[in-house]
């Protein structure tokens, strides 16, 4: 294949997001990450749910699958398991992933399929004109809400941790370079990586604006936080690691951390599949049926 330029990863289709939307920053970071990792566009698939953020695949020159509201994770996992050679990135908003799709968010953590899930978090349902998202705090009132939010906020990092995601990070939509590095690391991570991206919605979220974030965000790694969880930690060491993670994941308000929070090596679902599919992943579903079915052998248990 010819050497691709960054421009080659950008689709002709122009984004129709609002001016100043955080989605632009995430899209740029994703394009740059795929370019820098020299990902083959024909072997790369970006999946999305439904919502503003879910239009992302249309602006990338790789295979793009814009699925249903809340269902991006199962579709993406199905494709990755059927063809483990694909590089798979799933994207979607906070409502998509933690509202309607919360069940899949949790169940995916149990599997640890080798892919990256990027959650665009602007705390509102933008495409339907600004209703409260599952990450908007209790009592908070963004400008299009008629009343303060009566429902509490999910902490995506703690939920991802409880569910079993093996790489957990947070980025910021306007820190494109930092975000690009996180995306690269998330794609490279072996297992299910979760990247929580904080993102202002200039149209509907007047609480957590670019200015609000600028005063609060800091980088964990600049303060010496080590997310790596080596194998063979003693229970006490693991407890300490988890306590530190929880402290940082829960930090919200005056200071908000970004960076990598957790990085563990856990067998992927693909590796676990090998237990009953001995030839997987060498023989994977997308290859089709390469040898005749041993129907005779299968029928033996039914013989009379």
């Amino acid at each position: 294949m010819v050497e691709l330029k960054l421009q080659d990863y950008k689709a002709e289709k122009q984004p129709d997001w609002c001016p100043g939307c955080g989605d632009y920053g995430i899209l740029s970071a994703l394009q740059m990450a795929l370019f820098e990792l020299k990902k083959n566009p024909s072997q790369t698939v970006v999946f999305s749910g439904i919502g503003c953020s879910a239009k992302t695949p249309h602006y990338l020159n790789v295979y793009g699958v814009h699925t249903l509201h809340g269902r991006v994770l199962p579709v993406a996992q199905g494709a990755k398991l059927a063809n483990p050679h694909l590089t798979v990135v799933a994207v979607g908003g906070d409502g998509d992933g933690l509202g309607i799709g919360a069940g899949h968010f949790v169940a995916s953590g149990r599997r640890n399929v080798d892919m990256l899930y990027i959650l665009y978090d602007n705390e509102v349902y933008g495409l339907t004109k600004g209703q409260a998202g599952p990450t908007l705090g209790l009592g908070e009132k963004t400008k299009s809400l008629p009343k303060p939010n009566p429902q509490g906020r999910i902490n995506p990092l703690l939920l991802a941790f409880a569910a079993g995601y093996t790489w957990i990070a947070r980025g910021y939509a306007y820190d494109v370079k930092g975000l690009k590095e996180l995306i690269k690391e998330g794609i490279t991570h072996k297992g299910l990586a979760f990247l929580h991206v904080l993102q202002p919605c200039p149209t509907y979220n007047d609480l957590h604006t670019k200015e609000w974030f600028a005063l609060r965000l800091y980088k964990l790694q600049e303060e010496g936080y080590d997310p790596y969880v080596p194998e063979g930690l003693s229970p006490e060491e693991l407890d300490q690691k988890m306590a530190k993670f929880q402290e940082k994941a829960a930090e919200w308000g005056e200071r908000i951390p970004t960076g990598v929070f957790w990085k563990a090596e856990v067998p992927t679902f693909e590796e676990r599949l090998k237990a009953y599919l001995p030839r997987y992943p060498e023989v994977y579903p997308a290859l089709g049926q390469k040898e005749a079915l041993d129907l005779e052998g299968l029928l033996k248990e039914f013989a009379l």
Binding site: V2, F47, G64, G78, N83, P285, Q289, L293, L295
Partner: protein, 616 residues
């Protein structure tokens, strides 16, 4: 005897399934064709369950109202099945249950208790009275103390009775066959199919010991029927799973639900066979099951999911997604009693119109229904072939009756069908977007699996343009809608008529059916001169059967309340269905019920709507 039905009833989890399989295999080893139906509660253990094994000199596909031989392993069976043994039949029961009365049967539904109270004219009839009622009806009751026999055999063999008591099923089967004068040898062969090692040895000894006992001579007897090798005995769920394997299935998803789960578990257990390495994923719900299968299909893997009732409702949105992005997908739907949780372990054909119409908006889908075990095997392959030929959703309808029913059939009938007709784009050199939804007269644009080199494209659940980008343009909308829906016309044109329907016999009274009424109606024809039967396999797109119905008195027979097939036939052919024979109590229509209903039609005494109500 030309035919014979043996029934075993007892508490769930008590091994009565093993007993029925053993009996079926033993008589099959003696040359009989067999079919077994299974009735059970949504319960792990303790609630009442029973199985019928019907034997015939020809392949069996229907079951009777009344059985010839009932093995009651507990008191509840005695109470529940009163009236279910034909006069001249035999009841084998454990005399120790005679101390019980109806109120001491905690799992017996109040409705049954009350019915028995009314029948016997007292609040709490004893099982002694019930036993006497069997005898009055001409049934021969035979006391058989299963546990005592087990203990006695244990003592005789020098084996702890704790061990021989684990062989009560073998004892019950051996006693039945011995009483019927059936030779021991086929039973020993059947045991060898069922057990291994020390367990086999013990069961063999127990069977031999039962056969050494003196038993009364019965008026009923069962002879050998000339064993022929090359037959197999399997359930509908197993046949459908095998069909999927033969059809090249590579990826299956499921969420546990009765009665669909058996199929996925079978697949999971057999991945070590050559050509059977299917990735089976148990998902968090049926929404994930259908969408994960779609994701797999997009890579070119033959993918399917299997579900029942509520699970299928949850899949409606995902199926529309597959229709929209033109993903090949097979959904195997094991219907059960609905609505809502309904009757989880009982049969129904109540999802027909939902399978055809369910979901928002319109997209092309194919719906086919299997009538018996062989159909389940062949249709599973057709479903996969059609999904890939037409790049859309194929719903394969089965039901609980077929899922758990087992039949013996000639092994050579289970042959793989060709899997061709798939249109795939040849990869090209270069770099740029593919036109996935390129114009095609038959509506079928070449499929491009994710990962195809030389380019990429987009897919979206939104309406889209040729490359798969979102559009709300009216002209593109019309183009895409028409291209997708054209696939239905193509399918109806291409699918051979014998895969659409079979006119088994023509007649002035023409019965129409789909799915698992097939075996019952085919045997009913033997008793109904002048009655024809048209069996529908393809339900959508609906076959052009109008000319076949011209001038006939039309009758539909189906397992649902409203007569969904009748509605469909009327809608699609503009022909009036004169009689709707329906059943919705969760129990399959028996041969006797079908014959009686159709005789009423012939006699002109049948109402427009005839409800069948038999079953325990």
């Amino acid at each position: 005897m030309e035919e014979f039905t043996w029934r075993v009833g007892g508490p769930q989890g008590g091994g009565i399934e093993t007993a029925a399989t053993l009996f079926a295999r033993a008589v099959a080893k003696g040359g009989w064709w067999v079919a077994t139906k299974r009735e059970y509660h949504s319960n792990i253990m303790g609630r009442h369950s029973y199985l019928d094994v019907r034997l015939g000199r020809k392949p069996v596909g229907a079951f009777r109202d009344r059985v010839d031989f009932l093995v009651a392993l507990d008191g509840e069976t005695l109470a529940r099945h009163l009236g279910e043994v034909r006069p001249g039949g035999v009841l084998l029961y454990d005399p120790k249950v005679l101390d019980l009365s109806v109120h001491k049967l905690p799992m017996l539904d109040h409705r049954v208790q009350e019915a028995l109270a009314e029948r016997f004219g007292k609040g709490d009839p004893s099982l002694k009275e019930i036993l006497a009622a069997y005898a009055e009806a001409g049934v021969q009751p035979l006391p058989y103390p299963y546990e005592e026999v087990a203990d006695r055999i244990g003592a005789e063999l020098g084996v702890p009775s704790l061990q021989t008591r684990r062989t009560l099923n073998t004892i019950a089967v051996a006693a039945s066959l011995h009483l019927l004068g059936f030779p021991l040898e086929p039973l020993l062969e059947a045991l060898a199919l069922q057990f291994r090692g020390k367990v086999l040895e013990l069961n063999e000894k127990v069977a031999q010991a039962v056969y050494r006992e003196e038993v009364p001579r019965l008026s009923l007897s069962l002879r050998l029927n000339g064993y022929e090798p090359g037959r197999v005995y399997l359930t509908g769920a197993q046949a459908a799973a095998l069909g999927k394997l033969a059809g090249g299935l590579r990826f299956q998803t499921y969420y546990p639900i009765s009665p669909a789960t058996d199929e996925s578990v079978y697949l999971e257990a057999h991945t070590n066979f050559q050509g059977a390495d299917v990735a089976v994923v148990q998902t968090e719900d049926e929404i994930a099951a259908v969408t994960m299968a779609i994701g797999a299909a997009l890579t070119g893997a033959r993918a399917a999911t299997a579900t029942s009732g509520p699970g299928f409702s949850l899949m409606a949105e995902g199926m529309g997604f597959a229709g929209m992005i033109e993903a090949p997908l097979v959904v195997t739907l094991y219907q059960r009693g609905g609505p809502s949780t309904g009757l989880p372990t009982r049969t129904e054909q109540g999802d027909l119109l939902f399978a055809i119409r369910g979901g928002h908006g319109e997209y092309p889908r194919l719906v086919l229904a299997s009538g018996d075990i062989l159909d389940a095997f062949l249709d599973a392959q057709k479903a996969l072939a059609w999904a890939w030929r037409y790049q859309t959703v194929v719903v394969h309808l089965l039901d609980k009756f077929l899922a758990s029913m087992a039949q013996s059939l000639p092994k050579e009938a289970l042959t793989p069908l060709p899997q061709n007709g798939e249109k795939r784009l040849a990869p090209r050199e270069g770099f740029g977007p593919y036109e996935r939804y390129a114009p095609a007269e038959d509506g079928i644009s070449p499929f491009i699996p994710l990962g195809t080199p030389g380019g990429f494209y987009w897919m979206t659940s939104d309406e889209h343009d040729l490359e798969g980008h979102i559009t709300e343009d009216p002209v593109l909308r019309e183009y895409q809608m028409e291209k997708r829906m054209e696939k239905l016309r193509t399918a109806r044109r291409e699918i051979p008529l014998e895969d659409q329907y079979t006119l088994y016999r023509d007649g002035d009274v023409l019965v129409l059916g789909f799915g698992t009424v097939k075996g019952t109606l085919l045997e009913a024809l033997d008793h109904l001169p002048g009655v024809g039967y048209l069996h529908l396999k393809l339900l959508w797109p609906f076959p052009e059967i109008g000319p076949l119905l011209e001038g006939k008195r039309l009758v539909t027979v189906e397992h649902n309340y409203s007569g969904q097939l009748a509605d469909l036939v009327q809608q699609e052919t503009l022909k009036k269905v004169h009689h709707r024979v329906v059943k919705y109590n969760g129990r399959p229509i028996t041969l006797d019920e079908a014959v009686e209903a159709l005789k009423a039609v012939l006699a002109g005494t049948a109402p427009e709507r005839l409800v069948l109500r038999k079953g325990v």
